[in-house]
């Protein structure tokens, strides 16, 4: 059964890939209509995936509560929050309703921002304890970091106009060129893995190599 499923999935994948690739290069109304439909199926599947994610989360955490695992209170909190938010969204008919906005703005937004903002404190502590010039390379990194920070804050230009200019030079010469090399590498890798999937050499997306 599993083999039949995998072969069918491989065939579907191949057909979709060929149609969408041809659509990019060949301007044909019929081909375009078929490609549009296939693309829109992916959007529908994406929406279903959200529902599937919610279902999977519910099952996993309900089990954790039922089995009284050590983390069960967190599972209960997660499920409770999910029920409240889904219920409120369905009841008011919109995630922009005053009730939904109220609970989002007063609970989710501050908690989420605080979690993200805590990084600033960890970085401050790490700046003192860990960012050391232990070698020439780390020394260069340290100097570059200082200039880039002075580039990204108005204070750099206030201290001396040349400081942000040095930062910009580092940014342009090493940052952008290095990142471009990485992006080109990612692009080639994506193309290679894409071709392997299309021709059936790469089985991982279909659930393994067997």
């Amino acid at each position: 059964m599993s083999q039949i499923f995998k072969k069918t999935a491989s065939a579907v994948l191949l057909i979709v890939a060929v149609v969408l690739t041809c659509d990019y290069f060949i301007k044909d109304a019929t081909l375009r209509a078929v490609a549009n439909d296939m693309n829109n199926w992916a959007v529908v599947i994406g929406a279903f995936a959200l529902g599937l994610g919610a279902y999977s989360l519910t099952v996993r955490h309900t089990r954790a509560i039922y089995q009284k695992r050590t983390t069960w209170p967190y599972s209960a909190l997660l499920l409770g929050t999910m029920i409240v938010f889904i219920g409120l969204g369905l009841f008011t008919g919109s995630v922009s309703s005053p009730q939904y906005n109220w609970i989002y703005t007063l609970i989710v937004q501050p908690l989420s921002s605080a979690l993200y903002g805590m990084n600033a404190f960890f970085i401050a502590s790490a700046s003192y304890r860990a960012f050391r010039a232990r070698s020439i390379e780390s020394g260069l990194l340290l100097v570059a970091a200082i200039f880039l920070m002075l580039l990204n804050a108005p204070i750099g230009g206030v201290i001396h106009p040349i400081l942000p200019q040095i930062g910009k030079m580092i940014w342009d010469l090493s940052g952008a060129t290095g990142m471009r090399a990485i992006l080109i590498g990612i692009g080639i890798g994506t193309l290679a893995i894409g071709l392997r999937i299309i021709i059936g050499q790469e089985k991982t997306p279909l659930g393994g190599a067997d």
Binding site: Y24, R32, A35, N36, D37, N39, N40, A42, V43, V44, G46, A47, A49, L50, S94, V95, S96, Y100, N101, Y104, V108, Q109, S112, S113, L115, Y116, G117, A120, F121, I123, A124, S125, S127, Y128, R129, A130, F131, R132, A133, R134, L142, A145, I146, M149, L150, N152, A153, P154, I155, G156, G157, V158, P164, W171, D172, G175, A176, M179, R180, L183
Partner: protein, 273 residues
């Protein structure tokens, strides 16, 4: 106690307190440091400013609570600028589940309903699931992809969209995010249709995008809070981003001082740690 011993101690609590003070004090008592305008930000401003009646602007958003502080000020500043351009049509589309909340909030804050006509001057399409497939669908044929907008109005009832079918009709697209959907716009709108693209990004995402900017594949980047502050200055509406730049400056200065002190401790302590 020697200087070496003094520097070698753990000052975690003091560092946290110093950072807290460096963030809070400038917010309460602004210093008023000049905000530099980056070329990447000015390029977006100039492109938006040159828009003509009938042009179509798409603002994509994946703004959530985590990146709200950095990206929302960019989003609202550019939206304000677009609203000032007479006859320019605006499409809002969301790629994240939280994004519609911020899109609606921005429309309310800017009094969109009082200044413009919904369905004629602007529309909010809402969240579309499917990541890159959603953006691809939007670029191919938005009428085939969507039946209703965010508020449940039929797409066919929105007169603004009558002559807008896909990416070939978008004059510019600006995407606000901290994740990969900016790349999706490049793949689906720029590479396929040649649509002009720009990004509003968090600081950590800027290095990826900068490579595309220098290659001429995107026309601008609003770089984190600094870019937002620059844009606010350009449109003459200084807001939360411009106010936050003093705090960011002092915090950066603190980081630099801490790095120098940390290295002093390291070298004076005989490179023990």
């Amino acid at each position: 106690m020697t200087v070496t011993e003094m520097l070698g101690r753990n000052y975690k609590e003091i560092i946290y307190l110093a950072l807290f003070a460096s963030l809070v004090v400038p917010m309460i008592r602004p210093i008023g440091l000049p905000v530099p305008i980056d070329k990447t930000t000015a390029d977006i401003y100039n492109r938006v400013d040159a828009l003509q009646p009938g042009d179509v602007v798409v603002l994509g958003s994946n703004i959530g609570a985590a990146i709200y502080a950095e990206v929302y000020p960019q989003y609202i500043a550019i939206m304000e600028h677009v609203f000032r351009k007479e006859g320019v049509r605006l499409i809002l589309v969301d790629h994240g589940t939280e994004a519609p909340i911020f899109a609606e909030r921005a429309l309310t804050e800017l009094n969109a309903a009082g200044r413009k006509t919904y369905g004629v001057d602007y529309v909010h399409l809402g969240y579309i699931a499917g990541d890159e497939a959603a953006i691809s669908g939007l670029c191919r044929d938005l009428h085939a992809l969507l039946q209703v907008d965010y508020s449940g109005n039929s797409i066919s009832s929105l007169s603004m969209l009558d002559d807008i079918n896909g990416a070939q009709d978008f004059t510019i697209v600006i995407d606000f995010t901290a994740s990969a959907d900016s790349q999706f716009w490049l793949n689906q709108a720029y590479a396929t249709y040649g649509t002009a693209i720009a990004f509003g990004l968090t600081a950590v995402k800027v290095p990826d995008a900068y490579a595309y900017y220098t290659a001429g594949q995107i026309f601008g980047i609003v770089e984190s809070l600094k870019g937002a502050a620059g844009y606010e200055i350009l449109i003459g509406r200084p807001g939360i981003a411009a106010k936050g730049m003093d705090a960011q400056s002092i915090a950066h200065l603190l980081y630099i001082v801490l790095m120098i002190l940390g290295n002093l401790a390291y070298f004076m302590g005989g490179k023990k740690k």
